[in-house]
Symmetry: D2
Subunit: 381 residues, 4 copies
């Protein structure tokens, strides 16, 4: 098949820059698509850091100013993989320049910024996606499919956790290239934007919108050294942990919790949905499994089925290897990219787009506000 | 060893009446104690129901009025195994009569009643215990031991769930002998008193007192038929589900959730504690296991250890069979009773006593109040 | 209900003596039966050991010579709970005296003895059962039920393990009251008779008879101190480990393995059956669960279902507590006893009887013989 | 870093051809190595099938005759990814031509062929590796590390299974491009060479050589249609299932079993090692986990630790993403290739080489022979 070229301009060379670069290089190996991403240009201020990155992943050129990248005619898609405090300006400018945009999550520092961005892409009419990659974990996509098949019936409960433990040590510094997620000015929030945004995106996708929330946050380590300035200590402004109660528009009761202080939990992103006819459970630490309880089976064989999501019948899996063979973290980005391109192929835009991510941002904002007001807060929008 | 007799008067012949009767019959088979419970008298209003129960379990006599039971000189201990709305009157009267009291949980309809009861037993100076039997699941006792050994360090998080699914069917009736737990007048509350009380008791025992809470409740099925009056329907007054956020006095953040609408969860009473040096996880559906994460092991072998709590080194287990052999639900009552008697033997009273249970009741009350006020509520006392 | 008395004479006061005594005391509390066991007499040579045992469990009288016990008119049932080397003589004598017999497993020292015993009870026409208690684990009974319902179809594979680790320490002594299982003269074999006999009994019950086997054994610790004669060491004659391949009469291929040198496995008695339409998996260390794979479900939701075998629909469970509440090791004996009595009530004798146990014994013998001949051995009979 | 080019010539375009192609394309993205594989030429007889494959994966040129490929001066490495019956001729010719060789497993149709191949590469002095990719599952590499650290002590037992279920349906045809593994002439054996070879390679790597074996095999479906000739049926010559007992040179007892008739097991490659001080358990269906039991921990916290093998401390994982993020099936090939290149960089040749694979082949041969002779067979060599 003759594929059209899709020229990518990537801003950022960190962890997400790597994951996205890999996706661009790999997507056509596994998916049959109308477009072929070209790793056209990588952009970052620090050229010495950018260069080995660009060489390693095969980026054809480099830019040190994102405005120049956006100005280039040979760029079709701008990929925003920088800290959250830069998302808004880049996205708005890229939209105005008519570029398609792939933006890392969370969409923005807050919903106000997110709204600006959303209006910008919608006004410009450019294709846009937010990298909530976990929707494309095959097991989570399968959960969506089972719900859409009507297997759960009325939903009573949803509970989500996203637990990690890597900041318990108070000697972990803050800021800089790799630890900007601990810097309130760069990240906008702590676990809420970083982790709960994933949980919320998944929840809304699976069972619909959130009506109101009531939350609490905590910062366990109050002060940390700056990564880039050894010896200089700074107050920690982010939420180390956040938990909130939620009522969904469909009447479901829900709890959400995230922390980086859950000793022994490395990347435990879980959800459970309880419906009238069945339930689902997922844990990212066992990403290739989906647990399903089907109450309509004979009553003496009821049980939680551990579906090994590696069969050809399962979402995405027929693109890769054979039943029983797992894919890994990086493939969620490949899958997301494939879906983005499929959206271009078919004219049915991919989700989650900026507007979807704005909805998630609004839940984050409401949770954080609620933690301050100590009251329930309605989700805006 | 010459054991002293401990004459028991049991009020109630339901599910708990069975569990307690079994404990009285079995405790001396497994534990070496200074007292031997004697199944002296069983008491209930409906003689036709009481009789087969009493015969089956070997109760020596019957009473139809609890006041008469309390008045009997040959009764040392009054066991309150009736619906919650009767706890207060019986307990106060029994205390005034100088009887020891074993009371089913929750202590009372609310904290006000609970306080009356607590003051009554304390004034009378009678031995008292509340049957929070799950403290005596060996794995939960082991959790307590590991925390007391200092294995977790500073506690950051506690999360508890108690999920069941038996009331989803709206044809389940309400009230009567077996379904009084769905009747607000008999039970005082729904899952909060029935299930969360267990979770709260365990939490306080393990990591200390709760400062404040913020909760929500829901009643999914609004009306049910009366068990005793087929065709007559009544509004459901209890909480079908309750979830709350909590801040502990030690600074730990916590979530609690309970429901009878979690399809596929039969008796899933879980907790997880996350501390600086380690974490613990327990699930009553795998009651013989405790999961422990020890961060002080070599970093490349870190992992959640599934401790099979059946060894002689484990709490209570050297009283029963051999390593690898489990005990069941009923043994938690035997263990609790053994501890009560040991308290008599040693003069160090068993816990949880009425005052402990009052503290739990106050957390329940605060959660329910908070669900109404839609605000955080301080735990009283 | 007016129950008839069933006078029990128990020979032996060890671990099994305790488990059986408990069953006699408890069975009528939970099961509605036509007979009520009476703990009539306990028998053992060492009176000083027997006395506290008899008192603790409520045995009405004591005997020091099993022949006298058998001679008593007031004994209906003889329960053989002594080391294996005594089974044959007692059983034959008891049968000749017209007593019903409940015999601990394995049936005998070897199949020759087992045949004598079987012919004796059949000739005498007395009720007989062998205490293969694990058949009465509710999850194993459920496995039987699912197979009988035709849910697996043609059976391809059966694999069984029974792993423990308590004899790795070479300082564990041998012989005496509690360690006779390590003494070849008392036990007849090591893990083969003690553990694999359970596995074989379950296998035959579930999928039918064994045609031929090929095995190997090992004795890892060659010499141990005598428990009763500190300082005296003796060669170890038993098999510490035994594994064998088996072909079943129905064409299924099978592996069996047992050892007391599997570090970390306390009582891991497992089996897996693979059939055309489905599979089953069980592990005694999670005794309340049965795993079931049903290939006839929709192909995208296939998965191993973990059936929590605590519902009223499950074997035996409606006799005890409520869904979600487990029973323990001791209840397998109560269940077996209830089934024995039900056999008396209904006239349909309980299984496994002596003849069933003889079949298991023959598989054990063939496996042990094969380990010596280093060839496949046909199962006799 | 200036990397040297390593020109690859790949023979075969099937499932393994894809997995290897991916490894060549990806290895330098993640590993810092002295060589860079160049996808120089892909070779297969059917040009129409080869072309899209070569284009998709970026092979620079194509060959239809493997002898021509070997004759090319611009090929450094010959990768043998064709059915087993072609391994020997290609490998011997490639060795004689002085090419490095990467050969898919099993090494050969039988040990005789394997010996020829091994002698050829050793005589030629060319670098050689067999793609036993599962050694490079991080959790299996970690198992090796823990054993090498002395954590298990004396080894008593090893048990391995490799279970699948994809040939139960008797309508699955045989032969042709994708089903040659069911054709005895192309594959040499069934599950023994395909699956047990993996299990044996892992076992030998972890605990050392096998002394003797005793096995059985079965072919459940006796006849299948030819994939390439619909309507034509042929007797099935392969072993559908194979199980064998083994005694290792170090005295350990072992069982091995493999089948494609274990309903519900998709790729369940498991092993358990029981040692004096600890045990290990692995299941490829949960490839990111290693279970470890450490008997030297305090006795009341003993338990099977589930090590989530995704930390920077774990083998290979610091090359990829961050803790908690898994890699998939394909990465085992990337890891293996990286180790091969590292062998070139350092001069310490990678393992398993042809001689290692020959040892595995000899165990396979002994097991198959034993199934025919119905006796124990010594492993040759």
């Amino acid at each position: 098949m003759a594929r059209k070229k899709l020229n990518i301009g990537l801003i950022g060379y960190g962890f997400m820059g790597r994951a996205h670069s890999n996706a661009y290089a790999q997507v056509n190996k596994f998916f049959d698509l109308g477009y072929e991403p070209v790793l056209k240009a990588a952009c970052a201020r620090k050229e010495d850091k950018l260069k080995p990155f660009a060489e390693n992943w095969g980026w054809e050129s480099m830019e040190s100013d994102w405005r120049k990248l956006i100005a280039r005619d040979d760029i079709d898609v701008v990929d925003i993989s920088v800290p959250n405090n830069l998302h808004r300006d880049i996205a708005v400018a890229a939209a105005q320049a008519g570029k398609m945009i792939l933006c890392e999550k969370p969409l923005a520092m807050n919903a106000a910024e997110g709204l600006e961005m959303t209006e910008a892409v919608e006004k410009a009419g450019v294709a846009n996606m937010v990298w909530f990659n976990y929707r494309r974990v095959p097991a989570i996509s399968l959960a969506k499919q089972l719900i859409d098949e009507g297997r759960l019936g009325r939903i009573f409960h949803y509970r989500a956790k996203y637990l990690q433990d890597w900041t318990i040590n108070e000697n972990v510094p803050l800021g800089g290239q790799t630890l900007w997620r601990l810097d309130i000015d760069a990240a906008g929030s702590g676990v809420t934007g970083d982790l709960l945004a994933h949980s919320i995106d998944t929840a809304i996708w699976l069972i619909g919108g959130v009506d109101k929330v009531c939350g609490m946050t905590e910062t366990f380590v109050k002060e940390r050294e700056l990564q880039d300035q050894p010896g200089v200590r700074m107050p920690v402004g982010i939420d180390d942990a956040c938990a909130f109660l939620a009522k969904f528009k469909n009447g479901a009761l829900s709890t959400f919790e995230s922390t980086r202080y859950a000793r022994g939990r490395k990347n435990q992103n879980t959800f459970e949905v309880n419906g009238e006819h069945g339930s689902l459970y997922f844990d990212l630490e066992d990403a290739h499994q989906l647990q399903y309880y089907d109450n309509r089976l004979d009553s003496h064989v009821h049980g939680w089925q551990t579906i090994l999501v590696t069969d050809f019948e399962h979402p995405y899996m027929n693109k890769y290897w054979v039943p029983g063979c797992t894919i890994g973290y990086e493939h969620t980005f490949i899958n997301a990219l494939a879906d983005f391109i499929k959206g271009l192929d078919t004219g049915v835009p991919v989700r989650p787009n900026f507007r979807d991510a704005l909805e998630t941002q609004r839940v984050c904002d409401a949770a954080l506000k609620s933690a301050k007001t100590e009251k329930w807060e309605k989700v805006q929008g």
